[in-house]
Subunit: 323 residues, 4 copies
């Protein structure tokens, strides 16, 4: 009988639990014994590996975060750390590992795979910066949380003729800011992938104001060249350029903690089920992701060596729509 | 200068307003004059056609329903009715029409197109039964509303060891029920595309109960062979087969009225923008939809003559996951 | 050292967990040992009594339902059943009991109290039909869930000029229907406390329609003389009297399962803390409730013998506001 | 026939629209002509006074913000400004004014009242710092929005053993922070009404960590002595004292913009209806608020001269519950 373990690593994302549940239950259905590793690679090194039955993953599909916990782990970046992890798995008879996470996590998965261990990755990060999946588990829910904040800001902005600046997550990737900005009908969107001159933003908002708009929303990615604090300071000084009074909101980790929406639960479920399927077929060293609407396996070396591009045409569309 | 009109027809769907907004604003950006038709084809026949400026579609992206109103219209099914509609558009100098809606609406669009009028369709129905778009505007939000109900039923079900039967929309299509059921972790899913013997459902639930499950959720599509009322009656009689007490919830039109989530707003925005783009390029008589993650134009005759299939492998997966 | 047990009984209500948490943690703070009884009075009879530490009630305040489970129990209505319960508590050294629940539950608490056992009740039922508390734990959240459904129905109703009939919970009490109806701006509200002639409702809606209203919402209490099915049938026959097409939604237990809002969490917390305080002071045989904005102890015999009245002036106000 | 105007002033609050609707419709029911003033006292001075019919206030009860707009107005603080306002009302034949708002707004109402004009106030501010109403329109919804953020932070905090600091609104009043903190089960709450030593907070959180808590949430009122930035900086330096990594969220105006919950809609409706009732009876120069669960009129001079106290026993309870 096969023994397969699953871990979640890096930042948590809504839908990770759906993936864990699907992995455990489809694994059990194949006659395997399933295990969960606590606290990511750190727990793999220290041997926090527990058996998981069908009931253990009951009642988790609707929960944000990850029931297995997560942690960043320096030690696993060293070969010595990874050897310890392999030894732990060997001692418990674990014959395969599924790693749910984003860029850093899949780099770790790739390293384990290179050392000959059967690993399959599942694409999950709210930043959507992982090559090998057009959209990763957690993105849609994080976007909906940011969107809810935009909707609420617009309500109060309309009542007072104000401008609001909302900083959203995404690390070096502007996807979340761009899409939330489009969905929220933001008047300006600032992302790391494109330089934006504060003067231009100010002129655009001024134009919106003069055009009769009752409010203005600026969505700024945390990784943008001019972040929220910088922009707030700029507009503090150049208030007259704006037409509106400006206020700042930083959602921070609130974006991570939403209950996963249907999209992320289904994506998590499908990628999780595909991961055990892939292991069963002997197709290892790959990342399960969704490309062009289909579940796809991309070799981990390809995942690690490539960078996902952001479609900047959407930014152009956003500008047309903000008029 | 071109004059283009937009209408929404059939059942309303969350995200229709995002499409209207995108159509109007991208149209204006092309230098066109834009018009809105009230109450669908009925308004087209009676000439309820009003100019729409950029500000008229402000503050609607976050709203469910359709700002243009909708109605079913028998008269438009006759050639005489359609001639009246053409005359109305001619009198107002309208040179192109964008129709946002589902099956019936796109059949109307096709008929107009056959009569030589430039029409482009935008795929929108919460039933997801329209050929030419893997997912249509409104489906994801309707699914999230149904999912929220499932999550709440599970909470109270756990406290009382009960079974709940939730009837969801979808007309003759089981997509909404199937996906909401998977996302909600339902113990049983009943859809029109597959016969389900109540005895088998009862046995499955009994097994779940004996397996230690604290609750059971059955999701039934309104179009399933055994609908909610039928199943409730069956279990009333055969209570002992179930292990749980059974209660029924019928969400009804609550599923239509949610504020559109980010997915539907972005899909609505993209399909709306693609529709004006298509008209500009002279690519008419087509439906704008999303196929394999890409915005695609499918000829309306192909749309009308084909039926979208439901992927029944997901139903098999749902059964494995419910264990 | 004192040993105190807590149980939840009858229908679950959002906020029960907040009360359990407050009872356990304030009890522990007084130096007591705390216990939880599973599945209400049934568990008290069968001895499902477990110790509860501070961590055991962590992470529950945001959850609907009750972590202790609940059940209706016929046996406890007999003196023999109650004697068994007393014996179980005696054997475990339990010296006091806190009962969280509504009418039936507090009747049970009263009976135990009459037999000499120290009992304190905590007022909790979504029906708001319990004497001794102007508002009980769970009502506000259940109302918010019903309200959310009304808001969504209004969205789709506006798009289609339709009428919707929403049946809400409350057993023989119209409070939930009345308040949700006022908060939702319903055009008609039907409650058990007042006979309503379907003809009058039809005339009111017809007037609303003629007045230019784009939609009509009728909120019907499940205990009203003419319930949802009856009204739907009536309007099926007399469609022309309405002006609108009519659709029906039955939320059912969805109303119970919401995550408790701030009101119910704070009320649950305050009543729970007051219950241990009351036991400490030797003030037993009472129900902790909120009367005129203050936490109050009402003797259980007074609670059991009285019926809470519904303020029908609000129904008059609702009619003025619906115009 | 009487002509009565209504305005909203100061910060917008969810539920203001319910009050406007109730004022307009109950006023019309009394046979009065009703008017709305745009943009608060500024609009009163400049004469932005429009008639409001029953349909004009349709479809607003579910919306946050205020349909009448609001603005702060320096000019109204001068007697000259107020004389202009009186002249405007005289010219339009307005014989009475209803002012929906908080402290500053009711001070303005009091000044107008002293000049002999019939004014009635309606208590509305999310800060809950207004004497004459135990709870004001908007507080409960703002609390629910803050609570939702806390719930989400707890999810991600649990997955990563982190501490989160959430800054909530309330100006100089700690009510919102205190109540959201209790409802969210926060480990520490910092409010303006009580000095809190960062060292003590650090020690408490350290204790929570050592006690096995998986996360820690600190809720800080924006008006607290040590605000979010100060605390974040402190913990940056003294990281080891905490046991957890710390992250900051600033909700800002997101708290204002929620769709009003049932509590605020009903409170707004009741206070609005009571305001026209009070004017009809000639009881003017008063604030309509809710005291001990009853609708009450408090003379505006009493409102202006008194400060509402915060019940600090709840802070003590919060500490016991956080253990």
């Amino acid at each position: 009988m096969k023994r397969i373990a699953v871990l979640t690593s890096g930042g948590d994302a809504p839908g990770m639990n759906a993936a864990i549940r699907a992995i455990v239950r489809t694994g059990l259905d194949k006659g395997w014994e399933m295990f969960g590793v606590h606290n990511g690679y750190a727990g793999l090194i220290s041997g926090e590996i527990m058996p998981l039955g069908a009931r253990d993953v009951g009642g988790i599909i609707q929960k944000g975060g990850t029931m297995l916990g997560s942690a960043r782990c320096r030690e696993f970046e060293t070969e010595e750390g990874r050897r310890k992890a392999l030894t732990q798995m060997e001692q418990q008879g674990i014959g395969g590992l599924i790693v749910i996470g984003g860029n850093g996590s899949q780099t770790g998965a790739y390293e384990l795979s290179r050392m000959g261990f059967p690993v399959v990755g599942v694409a999950s990060t709210i930043d959507n910066d992982l090559y090998g999946s057009d959209i990763t588990i957690g993105v849609q829910t994080a976007m909906d949380v940011a969107l809810e904040a935009i909707d609420r800001l617009k309500v109060t902005a309309s009542s007072h003729h104000r401008a609001f600046l909302l900083e959203v997550m995404g690390r070096k990737c502007g996807y979340l800011a761009l899409m939330a900005g489009i969905a929220g009908g933001a008047e300006a969107i600032m992302i790391p992938e494109q330089k934006t001159d504060p003067e231009v933003v100010a002129a655009d908002l001024r134009a919106a104001y003069d055009n009769g708009k009752a409010h203005a929303i600026i969505v700024v990615a945390e990784g943008a060249q001019n972040n929220a604090d910088g922009m707030a300071q700029y507009f503090q000084i150049h208030r007259e350029r704006l037409g509106f009074e400006l206020r700042v909101t930083k959602l921070g980790h609130v974006q991570r903690g939403g209950s996963p929406g249907s999209f992320d639960r289904i994506l998590g479920t499908q990628l999780g089920a595909a991961a055990t399927e892939s292991l069963e077929k002997g197709n290892k060293g790959v990342l399960m992701g969704m490309i062009k609407g289909e579940i796809t396996a991309t070799p981990l070396d390809v995942v690690v060596e490539n960078k996902k591009d952001l479609d900047l045409r959407l930014l152009e569309l956003a500008k047309v729509l903000a008029k």
